[in-house]
């Protein structure tokens, strides 16, 4: 019992001693931070995934994961619009319009990346479709991981966050806003 308690305390000490993630700078050629998302990244347009770019990745990054989430929706929040992981550390971002056909190959610069399951229960990007009433905020969060974790296909955001816990050495985000008006 005493040994187990000791081990738990040591694990806690190790967690608290872990350095905070390095700040990754996330931007986009088409999304402007804290401004309205262009229609083509929503179901009111073509509903493509937006292009993202990032910089200031930690040198020890072994793979990258990205989640798009809406803390203004979901039960419980956030509502998840996109999960993509196993992005190679050489990638400088994500190109626009990641394929929605699971049989289609990923763009060469992110070869090997996998799309996880969103709140729409599909392994693809689906953009904002908030109910009319108030603007919602869409956080594109980028995680730099310190190891190739052998992540399997079909992970949800919760699965992903559990799997990468303790391996996040860099993190950053860009927030975009979208609101639907009542018809």
């Amino acid at each position: 019992m005493r040994l187990a308690l000791c081990a738990a305390m040591m694990a806690g000490a190790a967690l608290s001693a872990q350095a905070p993630p390095q700040k990754i700078v996330v931007s986009s050629p088409t999304l402007k931070a804290d401004e309205t998302m262009p229609r083509d990244y929503t179901p009111d347009g073509r509903n493509m995934s937006p292009p993202l770019t990032w910089s200031n990745l930690p040198g020890a990054t072994k793979e990258i994961a990205v989640v798009c989430e809406d803390p203004d929706a979901g039960n419980p929040p956030p509502f998840v619009h996109w999960v993509i992981y196993k992005i190679p550390p050489t990638a400088k971002g994500l190109p626009e319009g990641i394929p929605i056909d699971p049989a289609a190959p990923m763009p060469s610069e992110i070869s090997g990346a996998i799309q996880g399951v969103s709140g729409f229960r599909r392994a693809i990007y689906r953009g904002p479709a908030p109910p009319p009433g108030k603007p919602h905020h869409y956080h594109f969060v980028v995680y730099a991981l310190d190891a190739d974790l052998g992540l399997k296909p079909g992970l949800t955001r919760a699965d992903l966050l559990a799997a990468i816990n303790g391996h996040v050495i860099g993190q950053g985000e860009i927030v975009s806003i979208y609101e639907r008006k009542a018809p």
Binding site: P43, D44, G45, R46, N47, F120, I124, R126, A129
Partner: protein
């Protein structure tokens, strides 16, 4: 992504429709989405009337749109033929005058809403989109993200998907599952009134040959509500 070709008859009709759309393009560009959609659908109906097989309940434009939708729901691909070859849309058209009559108004409003949504979000009629963009539209309809529907678009999607399953995998007597394509697709060996021990063994070994028989090929099956096509009493064999 597999591109689904339609039946030859519909393919010819689509060419006529595309030509008509081009001649009205400039005028339609200045109209609202609703006006453009209504105008386009009406013109489409007019030019297609002489080109396609007779319909029982849907308009030509509705049938063409429905045909494009079912082709993506159960696509023709490496696994074999799909809802197009099974004539699922034909089944739905026929059933909307009978067992599915209560859904007729839902199809009218739902198909019009889907067409408007496709034009407003993707800039083209659904039938003119690439297969990938058609899938993207249908996913938005399925998830309830599409706008302009009476109630949730997800309910309309679920209805059409259910009827597409019926039209692809139901008994061919009702106008779908043409040439037993749906049953062959899932390996269903067909209706049998008697199963011998040898049949059972073959079934368990997945070697039982499909008999391609409808329930109504047997004298013992009758159903007062089942009706043959008004146009052609032998159409179930088509």
């Amino acid at each position: 992504m597999t591109f689904i070709s339609r039946r030859d008859l519909l393919r010819r009709a689509a060419v006529v429709g595309a030509s008509a759309a081009a001649t009205t393009g400039a005028r339609a560009f200045q109209a609202s989405d609703t006006e453009r959609s209504a105008e386009s659908l009406a013109l489409h109906d007019h030019v297609m009337a002489a080109a396609r097989e007779p319909l029982e309940n849907l308009t030509a434009a509705e049938a063409d749109l429905l045909e494009a939708i079912v082709a993506r729901l159960i696509p023709t691909d490496a696994n074999g033929p799909g809802a197009t070859e099974a004539r699922a849309a034909h089944y739905i058209d026929r059933a909307l005058g009978g067992a599915l009559a209560s859904s007729r108004q839902t199809y009218t409003s739902g198909l019009a809403a889907l067409d408007r949504y496709s034009r407003s979000s993707r800039g083209k009629a659904f039938t003119e989109l690439s297969a990938t963009d058609q899938d993207s539209v249908l996913i938005d309809v399925e998830t309830g993200a599409a706008t302009g529907f009476t109630g949730s678009s997800a309910a309309f999607f679920a209805l059409v998907l259910n009827h597409t399953h019926q039209g692809t995998f139901g008994d061919p007597y009702y106008g779908g599952n043409a040439n037993f394509i749906g049953w062959d697709l899932i390996g269903y060996p067909g209706i049998r009134t008697m199963v011998t021990a040898a049949d059972q063994k073959s079934l368990e070994a997945h070697t039982l040959k499909a008999n391609h028989k409808s329930a109504y090929d047997y004298e013992s099956f009758t159903k007062a509500t089942a009706r043959l096509s008004r146009r052609n009493p032998d159409e179930r064999e088509a």
